[in-house]
Amino acid sequence: MRHDTVIPPRLAIAAAFGVLTALLVPAPATAQEFPEPGRPLTLIQNFAPGGTIQKAMQDFEPFFEKYLGTEVIVETVEGAAGLIGYNEAYRRPADGYTLVGASTTFGPHVYPYLSQTPPPWKYEDFKPLGIYSEIPNSGMLVLADSPYQTLPDLIRAARENPGEITIGTIGPGRIEDVQIDELQQFFGIEVNHVYYDSGGTLFTDLLTGDLDVIITAVLQYADNKDVKIVTLLAKEMMDTFPYPETPIMANWQEELDFDVKDLRTLGSTHFNAMMVRSDVPDEVFAKLAEALRLTVEDPEWRKLVKDYRFPVYRSPEEAQATYDNMREGIERMTTKRD
C-alpha cells in the first residue's frame, strides 16, 4: 500500500510544533553561586567501564554531593588511554562543573608529550584540586626463578647483551614510555621494549617467558608465588605500602653507583588526583578543592576505598608542585629522545 509522499502542510505543522515547544519551555535563569541548584557536577571517568577509575569516581559521588550540595554524575568517556576523556573535559566550559581524574601514569603531564598527535590543550590548561591517594606501586616484576633477581643483575645482563633483555610495559602514551627511556639513558643500557594494551596480557606474557621483565602496578602480585618484585620504582618507602621490605630504588645506589635524587620518572610513587580546567574562577576552585579535602578526611570515604586506594591528602599547591616535577622530567626525557 503506497502513501503519498511529502505534502508541505504537514511539514508546516511539524515546524509549528517545534517552534511552539521552543516558546513554551522557559529558558533558565543564570545564577551566580556555585554550584547552582539543579545543575549537576560531572566526574569524567576516562577508562573502560568496570575498571578502578570508574569505581574511584563512583565512590567520590556521594561525598561530593554531600560537600558541594548538588547532584554528581559519573560519566564514562573512554579511549586512547584516557586521552579522549581529557579532550572532552577541555571541550566543556571552564565553569567548574566538569572534573576528571589523574594519576602518576595518566594526566595533563603525560598526554601532551607522549601522544603521537598532540591534544588540543596544554599541560597548563588543567590544574589539580589535590592528591587523594598515594602509594609506591609501580615496579619491575620478573618470574620467581628468573636469572635477574635484583636490579643490578638486570642492568649487568643488559649491558652485556644490548637489546636482548625484553621489557614489557602498558602503552604507548603512558609514563612507562619515558621510564624505559630514562632507564636506558641513566644506566647506559639498551633493552628490547614491547608495548601492551592490557595489564592481563602483559602479565601472561611474563608467565609464558616471552618477556624477561615487566613494569606494572606490583601491589596486586605481592602475594603471587610465581613472580618476584625486583624493585619498586620509588625513591622512598611509604607507610601506605603493606610490604615495607620490598626493595626500592634507594637500595641500589651503592651497587650501581648513582644518586637516587637524580632520578625523575624512575623514582615516583603512584598517586591519584582530581583535575579541573585551570581557568575556572578562584572561588569555584576553592570550593571544589575544599570538597576534595573534606572527602579525603572523611572516615566513611576512607572505609569505602580502603581496598584499592591509599588515602593521603596533598593540598592543591603540593599537588601542583608534584605534577610540575613529573612534567619536567617527562619533558626532559622526551626532548632528549626526539
Binding site: V6, A14, A48, V74, E75, E78, Q116, P172, G200, Y308
Partner: protein, 671 residues
C-alpha cells in the same frame, strides 16, 4: 590442581538461594532485552548495571552480571530472525539463515533451532567451564604472543576460505579487505602511530564496533524498510502464531535431529571462547561453517537452512560461556562483557588467576553455576520474549523506523559522547547501502573489522619479542601448520567450486546464447575500481608512516583489495562492451525514484535529529524526529503527534531506566 568438593558444594548452594535466583531472573531478562536491541550490547547493559548492583551482596551481584552476560548472546538473533536486524555481531549468521526461514514461513523451525542451539551451547559451555577451569590454568602458561596471533590468523583464514565466501569469494575477500581497512583507523597498538584519523580526535581510538555493526546491519535495513514501505512483517502477514508447546516440542526434537551439528559447533565455540580476544562473532561463523559441512538438510546455505541457525547459535553461546574460562583462570577477558565481569571481580577484591581458588573458591563456583542456570532460565523465557519481539511488528513502519532510529542514535551517541558517533554511523550506513548494491558482503566486512586489529597487534608484538624464530617455537609452530593446512584446503575447495560453476555456465551457454548482463559487469567494474582506489589511498598514506605501522597496511591493501579487485575486473572484461552499452543508454529505468526520495528524507531527518540533540536535548529531538517521519509517511495529524509523544516517552523510559546521561539541551529539560 586440587578441587575441594565442599567449596564446590558451597558455591552451588549459594547459587540456589531465593535472592540469587530472583536476581538471576532479572539479569536474564535484562540480558535478553540487551541482546535483542541493535546497538545495545550485553556489555553496555552490564556497564550500566554495575553501579546499581554494587549494593547487593557479592554473590548476587556476580550472578546478575553473569546472567546478563549469558542471556544476551542468546537473544541477539531474535530480532534478526524476525526482522533481519541482528542485535549484535554474534547474531549475524543465525540472522542470515533464520530470516530466510521466516520468509519461507518456517518461523517456528527457525526459533526452535535458535533456542535449541543456544541452550545446548550454553549448557555445554557450562560443563566445559566446570571441567576446564582448573585444567586450563595449567596449559595456558605456555601461550604467548605468537600463539595468540596465529590463532587469530587461523580464525580469519578458516572463515574467509570456507563459510561466507562460498559462491562469491572474490567480492567476499574485498569485503573482508574493507573491514580490515576500517580496523586500521586509530592508534597502531605496537608503536603508537595514529593512522587514518583525518585529524579527528573522535577517531583516535578507532571506530567502535557498535558503530560498524549498526552501520552495516541496521541503517541499510531501515532505509530498505522505508523504500519498500513494507513493515518488518512482509506484506499483510500478521503476528505469526507460535504455539507454546509446538515451539518447545520442536526444540526437544531438534536436540535429537541436530545432535551432530550441536556437539561439533558447541565444541568449536567453546574452544574459540577459551582463547581470549577472538570473540563470539567468529565463533558463530565457525558454528555456521560446521553446520554447513554436516548438514543433512537440502537447502543451500543462505536460503534458509535451519542447521545454520542451530550451529551459529550453539557456537556463539558456548563461546560466550567459554570466555569465562580465561577470565577466571588468567584474568584475561575475551570480550567487553568479560571485561566488565573482571571489573566486578576486582571491585570485590577478587583477582582472577591461579591464586584465586585459594581465597575465593566459593564465589567462583557460584558464578559458574549461575551461568549454568542462566541457560535454563533464558530457554524458559524464550517463548514470552519471542512474542514480545513480534509485538513490534504490529506497529506502523514509520514508527518502527523512528523507534529503531532513536535507539541506533542513542547507542552510537554513547560510544563517542558526542554527535560524532551517530554521524559516522549514518555515513557508513549509507555507504553500506550503496555497497550492498555493488555486491559488498556486510558480514565479511564485520569479520575483517573485528579480527584485523588483534592479528596485527599480536603478530608484530611476537616479532618484536623474538623475531621470526618466535613463530617456530613448538607451541606456535603447531598452530602455524594448522593455518597453512586450512589455507591450502580452502584454496583447493574454492578452485573446485569455481571449476564446477564454470562447467555449469559452459553447459548453459552451449544450449543457446545468453545475454551478457551489462549491469552486473558495470557493477563489478565499479566495485573493483573502488577497491583499487581505496588500496591506492592506503598505500600512498603509508609513505608517511613508520615501517612497523605500514606492514599490515600493505598486506591488507595488496592481499585483500588489489589482488581480488584485479581478479574481479579481469573476470568481467569480456562483458566490457555490454557494460559500456548499458551506460550509454542511461541508468534511468533501473532506478527506483520514489524509493530513493524516501531514503533521502529519512537520511536528512536522521542527520537533523543528530544535529539537534545537543541544542534541543535528546528527548525533544527524538520527538521531533518521530513527528517528521510520521507526518511525511502517514496520513493524518493525530497519529503522528501521538507517535511523537509515544516516542518521547519511550526515549525517556530508556534513558531514565538505565541512568544514561544524554544532553538536556539549552532548555535544560528536567529529564
Amino acid at each position: 590442581m586440587n578441587i575441594d568438593l565442599s567449596v564446590v558444594l558451597a558455591g552451588i548452594e549459594h547459587a540456589f538461594t531465593l535472592t540469587n535466583l530472583l536476581w538471576l531472573l532479572i539479569g536474564v531478562c535484562l540480558g535478553l532485552i540487551a541482546g535483542t536491541l541493535p546497538g545495545f550490547s550485553g556489555g553496555s547493559m552490564m556497564a550500566i548495571l554495575m553501579p546499581l548492583v554494587v549494593v547487593l551482596p557479592v554473590d548476587t551481584m556476580l550472578i546478575t552480571l553473569a546472567a546478563v552476560y549469558a542471556a544476551n548472546v542468546y537473544s541477539d538473533s531474535t530480532a534478526g530472525i524476525l526482522y533481519n536486524i541482528p542485535g549484535g555481531a554474534a547474531g549475524v549468521p543465525a540472522t542470515v539463515e533464520g530470516y530466510q526461514l521466516k520468509s519461507r514461513g518456517r518461523l517456528v523451525e527457525a526459533f526452535a533451532n535458535q533456542v535449541a542451539g543456544s541452550f545446548f551451547g550454553a549448557t555445554f559451555g557450562f560443563f566445559f567451564l566446570v571441567a576446564l577451569v582448573p585444567t586450563f590454568l595449567y596449559f595456558v602458561q605456555f601461550f604467548g604472543s605468537a600463539e595468540r596471533a596465529l590463532l587469530a590468523v587461523w580464525a580469519l583464514v578458516f572463515i574467509s576460505s570456507g563459510v561466507i565466501t562460498r559462491g562469491d569469494p572474490v567480492r567476499a575477500f574485498i569485503s573482508v579487505g574493507i573491514g580490515l581497512t576500517l580496523g586500521l583507523i586509530g592508534q597502531q597498538p605496537n608503536i603508537g602511530t595514529f593512522r587514518f584519523t583525518f585529524g579527528l580526535t573522535g577517531l583516535w581510538d578507532g571506530l567502535k564496533v557498535v558503530l560498524v555493526v549498526l552501520a552495516l546491519f541496521a541503517i541499510p535495513q531501515l532505509l530498505e524498510m522505508v523504500r519498500n514501505r513494507t513493515s518488518f512483517a512482509q506484506e499483510n502477514e500478521r503476528v505469526a502464531d507460535i504455539p507454546f508447546f509446538g515451539l518447545y516440542h520442536a526444540v526437544l526434537r531438534t536436540f535429537w535431529t541436530g545432535r551432530d551439528v550441536l556437539v561439533r559447533s558447541a565444541l568449536f565455540g567453546v574452544l574459540i571462547g577459551v582463547v581470549p580476544g577472538i570473540g563470539t562473532s567468529t565463533a558463530s561463523w565457525g558454528g555456521y561453517s560446521v553446520a554447513q559441512s554436516l548438514t543433512k538438510h537440502p537447502e543451500p546455505f543462505g536460503t534458509g537452512n535451519p542447521d545454520g541457525v542451530l550451529g551459529a547459535e550453539c557456537a556463539s553461546n558456548s563461546c560466550e560461556v567459554g570466555t569465562v574460562i580465561p577470565l577466571l583462570a588468567l584474568g584475561i577477558p575475551g570480550s567487553a562483557g568479560a571485561a566488565i565481569m573482571l571489573g566486578a571481580l576486582s571491585m570485590v577484591g577478587i583477582n582472577p588467576g591461579p591464586s584465586m581458588y585459594a581465597s575465593y573458591g566459593q564465589q567462583v563456583w557460584t558464578i559458574i553455576f549461575g551461568i549454568g542456570l542462566s541457560g535454563f532460565v533464558f530457554t524458559l523465557l524464550a517463548y514470552p520474549f519471542i512474542r514480545g519481539a513480534q509485538w513490534m511488528s504490529l506497529l506502523s513502519v514509520p514508527f518502527l523506523v523512528a523507534a529503531i532510529g532513536i535507539l541506533c542514535v542513542l547507542g552510537s551517541y554513547l560510544q563517542s559522547h558526542s554527535a560524532f558517533g551517530p554521524f559516522v554511523m549514518v555515513l557508513m550506513g549509507v555507504a553500506a547501502m550503496f555497497g550492498g548494491n555493488l555486491g559488498l558482503k556486510p558480514a565479511a566486512v564485520l569479520i575483517g573489522f573485528v579480527l584485523g586489529p588483534g592479528i596485527e597487534k599480536e603478530l608484530i608484538r611476537a616479532y618484536q619479542i623474538g623475531g621470526f624464530e618466535r613463530f617456530l617455537k613448538p607451541t606456535a609452530a603447531i598452530i602455524l601448520v594448522v593455518v597453512l593446512v586450512t589455507l591450502v584446503l580452502g584454496i583447493i575447495r574454492n578452485v573446485r567450486d569455481h571449476r564446477l560453476s564454470q562447467a555449469e555456465k559452459a553447459e548453459a551457454m552451449a544450449e543457446g546464447p545468453t545475454e551478457p548482463d551489462g549491469v552486473a559487469a558495470a557493477k563489478a567494474f565499479t566495485f573493483g575500481g573502488l577497491a583499487l582506489v581505496l588500496a591506492a589511498a592506503l598505500l600512498l598514506t603509508t609513505l608517511h608512516y613508520p615501517f612497523y605501522a605500514s606492514i599490515w597496511v600493505w598486506f591488507v591493501g595488496i592481499g585483500f583489495l588489489i589482488l581480488p579487485a584485479l581478479i574481479l575486473i579481469r573476470g568481467n572484461l569480456k562483458f566490457a562492451g555490454a557494460a559500456r552499452a548499458w551506460l550509454a543508454t542511461g541508468p534511468g529505468e533501473t532506478v527506483d525514484r520514489v524509493g530513493m526520495f524516501s531514503n533521502v528524507i529519512v537520511i536528512a531527518a536522521l542527520l537533523s535529529y543528530i544535529g539537534l540533540i545537543t541544542t534541543l536535548g535528546f528527548l525533544l529531538a527524538s520527538g521531533l524526529f518521530t513527528l517528521v517521519l510520521m507526518l511525511v509517511f502517514e496520513r493524518g495529524v493525530v497519529r503522528p503527534v501521538l507517535a511523537a509523544v509515544g516516542a518521547m516517552a519511550f526515549a525517556w523510559a530508556v534513558v531514565t531506566g538505565f541512568e544514561i546521561y544524554m544532553p538536556r539541551g539549552i532548555f535544560n529539560l528536567p529529564f
